[in-house]
């Protein structure tokens, strides 16, 4: 009976939707970046699976349907860039300088720090694409030999860090320019950081979302060239 219920693909989809709704609700109520909707959804789904001792394979019967939308969700990021084309054209040099320097610095830092702290290679590969948006990070992780679930976790921690610390970093280092703020948040902390950029201002929000998409593409290209499978 339990098996019939919990191993149905519909169960996994319903559980995921409710967990995500709970995450959105908690985030809206508390306004705390730490209650990231995706993070809350994970904790709920994972706890549920553990409490009712439901094997991961049962959950994945429905999970694979949700996974199916990863590729389309990545593809339509094209629209995000397209919609910001006039602001990109206006600040072309700044956008490319910030995203290229940031993406390369990100991978360099992570590689060096992982070596210093002696992390296993698959963990280092999973961390490498962590500053870019989740669907692109998953694609990189899979193609260079990382563990996709570890990558997703690193991406979430990065987003929350950027979201919380961006205003503090800007105050500490006296970064006041709207263009500088927008591009650096999007490059360092993807969509979760972008939601903070939108709070800082319209220009910051627009540039952050476009920097997120462009630094994602740059990271994919650099990572697959430097670490070919």
């Amino acid at each position: 009976m339990m098996k019939a219920l919990f191993s149905s693909p519909l169960f996994a989809i319903a559980l995921s939707v409710f967990a995500y709704m709970a995450g959105l609700w908690l985030n809206r109520k508390t306004h705390l970046a730490l209650f990231n909707p995706l993070l809350v959804a994970y904790v709920i789904v994972i706890s549920f699976l553990i409490v009712f001792s439901i094997p991961l394979e049962w959950y994945e019967k429905g999970g694979s349907f949700i996974d199916l939308f990863l590729a389309p969700a990545t593809t339509v990021l094209a629209l995000t860039i397209y919609r910001q084309r006039s602001i990109v054209r206006q600040h072309l040099l700044a956008v490319f300088a910030g995203t290229i320097a940031g993406s390369i610095a990100s991978m360099g830092f992570i590689w060096v720090l992982s070596r210093i702290l002696n992390l296993p290679e698959d963990i280092a590969f999973s961390l490498l694409p962590k500053s870019i948006t989740t669907p692109l990070a998953i694609a990189v992780s899979n193609s260079i030999g990382g563990i996709q679930a570890v990558t997703v976790l690193a991406v979430i921690i990065t987003g929350i860090t950027g979201n919380i610390l961006a205003p503090i970093v800007f105050r500490l280092f006296r970064i006041k320019d709207e263009i500088v703020q927008g591009i650096s948040i999007g490059t360092a902390s993807h969509a979760v950081g972008t939601s903070k950029a939108l709070e800082l201002g319209e220009i910051q929000g627009a540039l952050s979302s476009v920097a997120m998409a462009i630094s994602g593409i740059i990271t994919v290209i650099v990572a697959t060239v430097v670490f070919p499978a």
Binding site: Y82, Q148, V180
Partner: protein
């Protein structure tokens, strides 16, 4: 019908990306090929924003939801994560701040160069 048609168009881009990636002599994520393909088609007016707008906004707005199963797999790596948790979180946080500063510095330099060039 409108939504089904838009969804089918987005799926067609994904399929095109997958086919191209299959024939590439090196590994490159197919989803990025479809993204670039769609961007080029939009910029060159091959497709209009309206052709894919509603379904794209649905996907973009609920983006995070689609990553839940990909992340839930972490259950299988609990032991591994626990053994490296502190350096893992440390790297994630420190590198985020460092990247923000490098990126900000590069943008500031670019803006300065641009202003000087315009004068």
């Amino acid at each position: 019908m409108k939504y089904l048609k838009q969804l089918a168009i987005v799926f067609l881009f994904c399929l095109a990306g997958e086919s191209i990636s299959f024939f590439l002599p090196f590994t490159f994520p197919s989803t990025i090929i479809s993204l670039l393909l769609m961007l080029v088609c939009l910029l060159c007016n091959v497709i209009k924003e309206d052709t894919i707008k509603d379904v794209s906004d649905f996907l973009l707005m609920n983006m995070a939801f689609f990553f839940i199963p990909a992340g839930v797999e972490i259950i299988e790596h609990f032991a591994l994560i626990r053994s490296i948790l502190i350096p893992f979180i440390l790297i994630a946080i420190v590198s985020t701040i460092a990247v923000m500063l490098v990126s900000a510095g590069a943008v500031a330099l670019a803006l300065k160069a641009e202003r000087r060039f315009r004068k």
